[in-house]
């Protein structure tokens, strides 16, 4: 990573933020470099962490959205005793189930699956065209879509209703699969959150630490300025400007590097089947939060600096 040439940037930003040079040797110290790199590394991690967080959210959403409000109602092709049902019997049972579904308020829509639909469903497991020709009995499958926010209780009531009308019918809510996926992505998101929190903490501590170090190194000089009649604002402004520049330079570099890292990861996973990763990887909140990271970090830095300096000055009469 290239270290941002601070001195030069300062000239530019100095014009914007206040034209005077430093009375304290804040800018030409070796430490500055380390702090900038540190902030850059943290911003880099923050970018990755943020992206990971959002991607995991989208993944969970995608994996479960297909299942969440979808049920499958299955009408077996044989009785409990093993007798095959005739086509007419199947049709009447299906009709009964459909009429219950149609009148049930929590059901948004339902579709009786055709032979072809079922064929598609088992294709990955049994191979193409397996069932197409033979006229053998298949279970009746009805795909059911419930209204968003439907409660488990309501589903249980539905199950009972159908059971009493259609013996042996099964309502598959995909629950165990859903639970697993949500737990898994939830754990990953928790890790990402931990990462982000750690990064924020590290940044604040690094900046506060650096300002504190500067201040203790230059305490005598700060006191001298104070004794010469410099106002508190005059002195703290110098530290604030310093912190602003460090924060901006470091975090901009870090976020840039982080975005490159994301591109690399994206490229690695880019040709993957869309089954696993969501397609829209840059959501609006993600873009906004990534773009504002440097600003937030710079702001944190400035506030830490201001607070530290004013506190120290307040101790002098």
């Amino acid at each position: 990573m290239k270290v941002v040439p601070l001195q030069k940037k300062e000239k530019v930003l100095g014009k914007v933020y206040g034209k005077r040079r430093y009375d304290l040797p804040l800018n030409n110290n070796e430490n500055t470099r380390f702090l900038v790199i540190l902030i850059a590394l943290m911003s880099f991690l923050a970018t990755l962490g943020l992206s990971g967080f959002f991607t995991l959210g989208a993944m969970a959403e995608r994996w479960t959205s297909g299942l969440k409000n979808n049920l499958t109602l299955e009408i077996p092709a044989e009785t409990k005793e093993g007798r095959l049902l005739s086509a007419e019997e199947m049709t009447s049972l299906t009709q009964a189930a459909v009429s219950i579904l149609s009148s049930y308020p929590a059901v948004e829509s339902h579709t009786v699956m055709s032979r072809e639909d079922i064929q598609k469903l088992v294709e990955p497991w049994l191979g193409e065209g397996t069932l197409s020709a033979a006229a053998f009995p298949l279970p009746g499958l009805i795909s059911v879509k419930t209204k968003p926010g439907t409660e488990r209780k309501s589903l249980e009531a539905l199950t009972e209703k159908i059971h009493s009308a259609v013996a042996g019918a099964r309502l598959d809510t995909h629950e165990s699969w859903l639970r697993d996926v949500l737990r898994f992505t939830g754990a990953l998101q928790f890790a990402a959150t931990l990462l982000l929190a750690t990064i924020a903490l590290t940044t604040i501590i690094a900046v506060a630490g650096a300002v504190n170090a500067r201040l203790s190194v230059h305490r005598a000089d700060v006191e001298l300025l104070h004794l010469m009649g410099a106002t508190d604002r005059y002195i703290s402004r110098q530290f604030q400007r310093h912190a602003l520049l460090l924060g901006l330079a470091g975090s901009a570099a870090g976020v840039a590097a982080g975005s490159l890292g994301l591109l690399a990861i994206g490229w690695m996973t880019g040709e993957m089947d869309v089954n696993l990763l969501p397609q829209h990887r840059l959501s609006l909140p993600q873009i906004i939060s990534t773009a504002t990271t440097p600003l937030i970090i710079a702001l944190l830095a400035v506030m830490a600096a201001r607070q530290t300096v004013l506190q120290a000055l307040a101790k002098m009469p």
């Binding site: 005077r20 009375d23 304290l24 040797p25 030409n28 005598a220 000089d221 001298l224 300025l225 104070h226 004794l227 010469m228 009649g229 410099a230 106002t231 508190d232 005059y234 009469p317």
Partner: protein
């Protein structure tokens, strides 16, 4: 200008370094401050430039009671005081010129005025050739002269100098004392802390003598001699 009434000072939980100091300095006066090492000269100066507040007693500066003063008003008072610190306290990261220019920049003087004033003053103290040099590459005596230049560049109403000639030979020492005299004639009140008996003997100024936390004022022997001469 300066008035101390029953002033005492102690550092932390230590003994009283100054106890019951009473004196008044008129505007435009010139005093030496002397006394044995560790008597409290630097401490007394510290009170005068508002580096510390006394632990007891009343300090009046420029007609205002320090104890009741607001923080902002102290800034204004400090800007009217020039100080030569015993240990110089130069900023080692900026040039001689910038060090001397600093008090002017703090009060926001225009850069043009700063350029000419500072250059002239540095020539005068014999550092014209060292303007762009960092203080820590200068000799002890040169640093002391920078410190003096920085203290006088604002033409302060009050100048406090702590052992300003400790690192200077007698010739330069006297030269700088004459600069102080000149400032004094233009209205600056001066207090100079020194151990240098010979130096004090050359100037007809009264002495504040500090010993065991108590201050006494003594007319200069120079003056006494003149008075005696007048008598006979």
């Amino acid at each position: 200008m300066i008035r101390f009434e029953h002033v005492g000072l102690r550092y932390g939980i230590g003994p009283e370094v100054l106890s019951d100091i009473n004196f008044t300095l008129a505007p435009g006066s010139f005093h030496f401050l002397t006394g044995p090492s560790g008597a409290g000269k630097t401490s007394l100066m510290n009170l005068m430039y508002l580096g510390r507040l006394p632990t007891r007693g009343l300090v009046t500066m420029f007609g205002q009671n320090i104890n009741k003063m607001k923080r902002e008003d102290m800034v204004a008072i400090r800007q009217r005081i020039g100080v030569v610190f015993q240990d110089f306290r130069l900023l080692n990261h900026m040039s001689t010129f910038d060090n001397v220019a600093l008090p002017l920049r703090i009060v926001g003087k225009p850069e043009k005025e700063i350029q000419s004033n500072v250059s002239e003053l540095l020539e005068w103290v014999g550092l014209g050739e060292h303007m762009n040099v960092l203080p820590n590459t200068m000799s002890g005596g040169q640093q002391q002269r920078i410190a003096i230049a920085r203290a006088v560049v604002t033409r302060p109403r009050l100048l406090l100098a702590d052992e300003p000639t400790g690192n200077l030979d007698d010739e330069i020492g006297e030269r700088l004392l004459s600069l102080f005299e000149q400032l004094n004639r233009m209205g600056t009140t001066l207090v100079i802390a020194t151990h240098n008996q010979m130096l004090m003997d050359k100037f007809p100024h009264p002495r504040l003598i500090l010993s065991k936390g108590i201050l006494t004022i003594e007319e200069s022997k120079f003056n006494l001699r003149k008075k005696l001469e007048g008598l006979f």
